[in-house]
Symmetry: C2
Subunit: 282 residues, 2 copies
């Protein structure tokens, strides 16, 4: 596995692969890798000739009271995992590589950034869209791999790529879960043992909603009430939102008539967790 | 000269030229071409193997009370001029090619869009940056050619390209002028004969400021006063702004100590005209 820090080094390596006719898949991450990331890498590997992974804890997507400084950065372990997973190039840009002196350009996906995570984390998605635009302009991959766990992020970046006519195809990998159903997340590491036991509430609530959908329930209010009913059994879980939204527009729906995303966010102590699934009537 | 409308057609043509190893220079325009545009095309032709020009009157950069609908669109004449100038590909996208259903992504160059034109035309530069990002992602040129006449636009797009790590070099062509000094502009066509005679006020004022700079004047307030003094002789000229700004930050300066842009904007009847020059102490 090659490693690069500077933009120039990344471009040099990629130019050589391009000349050789290789297709490129790209998996941007903030490090603190878990099986969800590695599943994306595996899918990227099967799909393209070369896999590029970036590790960059992007300050622009953290709010002033969020966990930027305490975000886990186990870089040696991450490098070992990626090398073992067959990654061809690991890019570890510094903050100054991506945010030079005078940096002031921001990319906003205006229609999709105000609900769900956007409502709780103002400015978060401007940070995400801006940094991913930069990363894509450096790597210029054929495919960008994103995880369904961050469903709003994936939808928003699809729209950005489409709107800005970026020549890349976005592929989503399914959410990878722990044996008890909890979605893999770098932030799970923050949880105390008691919080970790209750973290299953998110997946448990979503499974209940999925069963109701399969049984014919179409009313969003009923699905939301069922998730909240499940969450009552988990006293440490404090709801941020429980939402049934159109999978394209991310606007709340009253009835499930087209493809939807059921998305939840909750706090356990100081930790925020999110989860979701998409579902479409047959 | 080839002509294309769809993004796919542009990409096909450019991919063939890229495979042949040709370098690409790109000149984005809103049509209604004048000698300023043709001078950019000529410079682009000397600098790269292939020249691509786009003609697109971008609705997103016009305010609700601006001249979008009456903006001149002499497309047959424009095509003839570009073919005669040796352009290799003319791209005439439709509004739906660049703004698809659900389009909601906006690019903002936040530090450079609030002064000068940005103060008079809110949202204008978001429209410019957004459309140029789209155009660049389709054409993927080696060089982007811009005119010094739109000096703030050129500076802002330089910053955007730098911040977003777009792999393109921006080149500026000097302002081309009519025999009496008036900067070539598509909007000159709006002027009545009486207004056209007074339009020389902008260039006349700037020349006075340049002479003062050459003679050693460094105080911005004095330079501004001199321009306004000249403009008193032109009763139809109504000032929008007269400014001495740092050429990099576009922030007003009190004294000329580094490279500056002296920028002016004025109205003549219903028409807004702008002009500027950059100057650096030796």
């Amino acid at each position: 596995m090659k490693r690069a820090g500077s933009i120039a080094a990344v471009r040099r390596t990629l130019a050589a692969w391009r000349r050789a006719g290789d297709s490129i898949a790209f998996v941007p991450t903030m490090g603190a890798l878990h099986r969800g990331h590695l599943s994306l890498v595996e899918r990227a590997r099967r799909s393209a000739d070369r896999v590029v992974v970036s590790i960059f804890v992007n300050p622009l997507q953290f709010g002033p009271h969020e966990d930027l400084t305490r975000y886990p950065r186990p870089i040696r372990r991450d490098r070992e995992l990626l090398a073992a997973a067959g990654v061809n190039l690991l890019w570890e840009p510094g903050v100054k590589d991506l945010y030079g002196a005078g940096d002031c350009t921001r990319v906003r996906v205006e229609g999709l950034d105000h609900g769900l995570e956007g409502a709780v984390r103002p400015g978060h998605f401007t940070g995400v869209a801006t940094v991913v635009a930069k990363l894509l302009n450096v790597v210029a991959p054929d495919e960008l791999w994103l995880g369904q766990k961050d469903g709003q992020q994936a939808r928003l970046l699809e729209q950005m790529v489409d709107d800005l006519k970026m020549p890349v195809v976005i592929r989503r990998g399914p959410t990878v879960r722990e044996p008890d159903g909890v979605a893999c997340s770098s932030r799970n590491a923050y949880l105390t043992p008691a919080e970790r036991r209750e973290a299953v509430a998110l997946a448990h609530g979503l499974e209940e909603a999925r069963s109701a959908l399969e049984a014919g329930e179409r009313r969003a209010a009923r699905l939301i009430a069922q998730i909240r009913g499940i969450w009552k059994r988990y006293p440490r879980v404090r709801e941020d939102y429980v939402a049934v939204v159109d999978a394209g527009s991310l606007e709340p729906v009253l009835k499930v008539e087209r493809r939807v995303m059921i998305a939840v966010a909750a706090r356990l102590g100081r930790t925020r967790l999110i989860d979701n699934f998409e579902w479409e009537p047959r």
